[in-house]
Symmetry: C2
């Protein structure tokens, strides 16, 4: 199996992507195909990988660029080269820690959408104290029709069943109240549509239940999903800053902080994005995974292993099957 790895886009540079591949190779056999600066990559690999390929380029798509325009014009960017290679026989999947918009645009314009899917979506696993929860969409699709939310639900269900191995995942709709009559025009119509589907739809979910593991897949338009996630991020930052202030306030507090430091790190580490590593771009005809820009080598390794499982489980054909049902 050949996995294309876009080596641009990680905050810490190409090294984490190469090191992540080396780590993943200890658990699974695959051939990494690095896309990036050849001489730099050779130096980083330094004999530690036996079987690999390099596609050389120095061009890449940054987060500031208009993604659709960049995908169309920057033919030598790492992402466009990787996507084109992915369309060739023998190349199985693509991992990138770079521009989310670019990854989405490349998926739509180079890999193309699965028949019956209007809007591909990046799934986001949420930190949870209960069951595995995934939110779709989190920012790729702004103005959604009810049918798009139903598509997200179907794709999420197939992914969770096959890659995360959750039987008949429960589906919830992000809304302002649990009652069926609650919400805006979009969620009221989506509620109807999901209720009448064959999905295991359990109803509305309030944003305060995003992290309690009440349901497995929570669907939302990309605007609301993005607001939900970033609001949570904001409050966590605020909370951490407050804790830090308390911890450094006095010698007594510093000693107390020292005593609980390790347990605190372990407890909060459960919610680290590094464990998850990456998320699938669902709805396109090729296997694409997005890793966070701030990934370390462990996160990249986990992303590669997730991508391999995603490919092995033949999820794209299964989504197609579900849509034809």
């Amino acid at each position: 199996m050949k996995i294309l790895i876009d080596t641009f886009g990680a905050d810490e540079g190409s090294k984490v992507l190469v090191d992540g591949a080396i780590l993943a190779l200890k658990q699974k056999d695959f051939i990494p195909v690095f896309v990036g600066n050849e001489s730099e990559l050779e130096k980083l690999i330094d004999g530690k990988i036996k079987d690999y390929e390099i596609i050389h380029t120095d061009e890449y798509i940054s987060n500031d660029e208009d993604p659709v325009r960049a995908i169309r014009r920057k033919k030598n960017s790492s992402l466009v080269l990787a996507y084109n290679k992915l369309n060739e026989e023998g190349y199985d999947g693509l991992l990138s820690a770079g521009s989310t918009g670019g990854l989405l645009a490349g998926g739509i314009f180079i890999s193309k959408r699965i028949d019956g899917i209007d809007r591909p979506s990046l799934a986001a696993p949420l930190p949870s104290i209960g069951a595995y929860t995934m939110l779709m969409d989190t920012g790729a699709n702004m103005d959604c029709k009810p049918a798009y939310l139903a598509e997200f639900a179907i794709m999420g269900k197939v992914f969770l069943e096959n890659v995360i191995h959750i039987k008949n995942p429960s589906i919830g709709l992000l809304n302002v109240g649990v009652e069926s009559h609650k919400g805006n025009k979009l969620t009221k119509e989506a509620y109807e549509l999901l209720s009448n589907s064959k999905l295991n739809f359990v109803g509305n979910v309030e944003a305060r239940d995003l992290f309690t593991g009440k349901v497995n897949v929570i669907v939302a338009d990309g605007f609301a999903g993005n607001i939900a996630i970033k609001s949570a991020e904001g409050v966590i930052s605020l909370f951490k800053a407050q804790m830090k202030e308390v911890f450094y306030k006095s010698l007594k507090n510093k000693l107390a902080a020292l005593a609980i430091k390790d347990d605190l790190a372990k407890q909060m580490g459960k919610f680290s994005s590094q464990n998850i590593g990456g998320v699938p771009l669902l709805g396109v005809k090729s296997y694409v995974y997005k890793a966070h820009g701030n990934s370390n080598a462990i996160a990249i390794s986990n992303a590669i292993l997730g991508l391999i499982e995603y490919i092995n489980m033949d999820v794209i054909n299964k989504i197609q099957g579900e849509l034809n049902d």
Copy 2:
């Protein structure tokens, strides 16, 4: 000055509302007009208030009822009686800890809207490490037009200038990115409208900056505003539960927790809703304040004092003036 106090709706019962009024009377002179069960109220007052009125009723509007229907039909409910009295000469303001929907419906159908305001809105002050920040709307108005968001901005500006005493408050638009081209159809159009207004519009604000005090008024449709607030609430609960688990894990941790407990409570107390007490229902022709259902007597006292300041500053006429400008 006479302040109507709906004594139904607080989780802890009528007692917190009477006790809150007693506390507030120590700081400001006013005549409380309690709406609720007369004999119970007399027992709670127990000679501790010199000058007061009671409007007797045992009927109230609960959170589960359709608010518009309830306001129209339950003529003897505490909220309808209070709103009707508020339309009479000599009654200045109304405080309720009951049904938010009922309060909004009563405002629209009994007090009526300010000329030029399409959608009244409940403002929500946010916990912030920086400047005072208020979010509008947080759930009253689901599907908004761009013009509604501009109305929220005007009402928020006048309230902050006069009641919170912030000069020329900055206005931000809740969005998925800071760039002007970001967002859904609503926010793109609202961005245009706000940019061309006389308001101190500073652009888009991401949800992660809701709590950093970057801007004074953040406008959003009620769906997105509600998702933002409840997501933050959810993650705080999760965080607190995790902390608690660490604190109780071992004797060593218990001792450490004991050492920092007071400082932690003080630091986090800054963000307590009890300090704020209540929020104004902006956009209607009478002075109405909403207290949280879980308010204690201090929160009610603060809400009453806020309501009196709101009345004294003549905010309704000032909003009307701003709209006529």
